[in-house]
Amino acid sequence: MNGILANLLRELRAYFFSPLAYVVMTLMLLVNGYVFVLIVSFLNDPRVQVGAPLELFFGQTIFFWAVVLLFAPALTMRLVSEERRSGTIEVLMTAPVSEAQVVVGKYLAAFCFYLFLWSPTFLYAGILDYYGDVAWGPVLSGFLGVMGVGALFLAVGTFASVLTRNQLVAAILAFVLLTLLFSVGLLESLASGEAARETLDYLNLWRHMDDFGKGIVDTRHLVYYLSGAVFFLFLATRALAVNKWR
């Protein structure tokens, strides 16, 4: 427990002290703000069917995926690779903490920061609520989807960060893995067999977010994110045990 907490607090601190975090935060605000304006003005067009802006906001634009696909690697790339590059890993891994505690502590820090990055979203909901009616159910379920996707993506990024001592390589590796993970579901329409189509449908992240945005909380999606996250964190732990001294 100490190991997790110590790493969590230190990494969180490191986020708020690193320029990268502020760059990510600013970009995130810009992109999300732009998407929000875009959606609202689009829906204000009298020719367009009536819709709920935040449904579209979560996951139904390519912007959402561009943001998570790019920013998850940016948040996780430093986690372990920097410890290995600078050599601080030596003290860390000779302290009475296990590899799993280190990985989980760092991952949780990235996750907390990720939630922090998304928190301004509630402002948009607040603005909409001021001028009209907001169905809070879909907003919350949409946020749950954001959390789920983040949990999975950040675990993949954490794993990538263990594999190399170069932050940039870690980021690119994470980006490639995540893009594969994301695009595999998009192959659904190309699938021929029923079984293949269903499997790909299960992996289709776009479809998942569609559901979450509509207020549908499908536990199968959550199980997919969480088991995926656990799987990649497990891989990260094993990789750390092998890689720490290299």
């Binding site: 907490l5 110590a6 600078s86 601080t88 003290v91 891994m93």
Partner: protein, 323 residues
């Protein structure tokens, strides 16, 4: 307290550490000496559990390091060779982080951090950002962090590198003081440091322990009695045979015949200086210089670890050393 048994580590084809066994008893300060690349850091990394050995085992305080690493590491304090710290943290924050990592209860942590800061002479930089500190201060931050949890075994890899002479003296005092609460294993290439601090020394070369013992026993065991340096004015040809015939002289080696410089090896236990003086005077020669050379640990070190290129490594008298 620290027992290493036939520790071996290879990286690919390179055997960095080859069957190193040693033990460090409770309260002892043991020094590890060796040229660069001898395997000191690799050995230390295995002893602290950072690097899994290819073979052999390590026991700390009687428990096997690799069967329950997390528990055993609780009793080890470690200052790595290149003290790596987080540059964006303040000294006090870093120590608080390390205290939490070691599982020190938060009530205790503040007091222990204060004490470590004081002992490692960090009081004036406690609130500074680590990235702005000099090498000497960082070294001491690393040391303070290593002693926070009062480890039973303290392993220091080159603890005085990068310090100025005044700081070196203070850190040595601290190390000596720490030996009353911890068992110490330290590696260094600073020979006087070993002589000053360590009760016992291991000399490592090419991944093997080539000699082990107290600094005195190493000096005596490896160099025998001390030699004598002589300078005889206008030394004639027969000076060397004459010197050889003096009782108590085991061997004579002319260092430079033109300058009349000779190196005389005394027989064990003998001190032939007076006889040499009388013998030289009897012939009417003039003795310009006579100095008894004191063998230093440095001589032992150089002798054990330097090799002619291509020559096979000197066979170490391991039987004698093992006892």
């Amino acid at each position: 307290m620290i027992e290493a048994e036939r520790l071996t580590r290879s990286f690919g084809d390179l055997v960095a550490v080859d069957g190193v066994s040693f033990s460090v008893g409770e309260g002892e300060i043991v020094g590890m000496l060796g040229p660069n690349g001898a395997g000191k850091t690799t050995t230390i990394r295995m002893v602290t559990g950072f690097l899994p050995p290819s073979g052999g085992r390590v026991r700390i305080g009687g428990s096997d390091l690799f069967s329950d690493p997390v528990k055993v590491r609780r009793h080890v304090g470690y200052l790595p060779e290149n003290v790596a710290l987080y540059p964006e943290m303040r000294v006090s924050e870093y120590l608080a982080y390390r205290a939490r990592l070691e599982g020190i209860p938060s009530g205790d942590a503040k007091r222990r951090i204060g004490r470590a800061v004081e002992r490692c002479l960090l009081t004036e930089v406690a609130t500074q950002i680590i990235g702005t500190l000099s090498k000497g201060y960082r070294q001491r931050v690393g040391l303070a962090a290593a002693i926070l949890h009062r480890p039973k075994a303290l392993v220091l890899d080159e603890p005085t590198v990068g310090l100025d002479p005044a700081q070196i003296i203070k850190i040595r005092e601290l190390i000596r003081e720490l030996s009353s609460e911890s068992t110490l294993l330290l590696s260094t290439h600073i020979l006087p440091e070993v002589e000053l601090l360590c009760g016992r020394v291991m000399i490592i070369d090419r991944g093997r322990i080539v000699a082990e013992g107290t600094p005195e026993s190493l000096r005596e065991g490896w160099l025998g009695s001390a030699g004598i340096e002589l300078v005889v004015k206008d030394a004639p040809e027969e000076a060397a045979p004459l010197l050889s015939s003096v009782p108590g002289v085991a061997a004579v080696r002319p260092d430079s015949v033109e300058a009349g410089r000779y190196h005389v090896e005394a027989a064990p236990g003998a001190d032939p200086r007076e006889e040499i003086f009388l013998a030289v005077r009897d012939r009417g020669w003039v003795l310009l210089e006579m100095v008894q050379a004191r063998a230093s640990l440095e001589d032992v070190f150089v002798r054990l670890t330097t090799r002619e290129p291509g020559a096979p490594p000197e066979a170490a008298p391991r039987e004698e050393v093992a006892s």
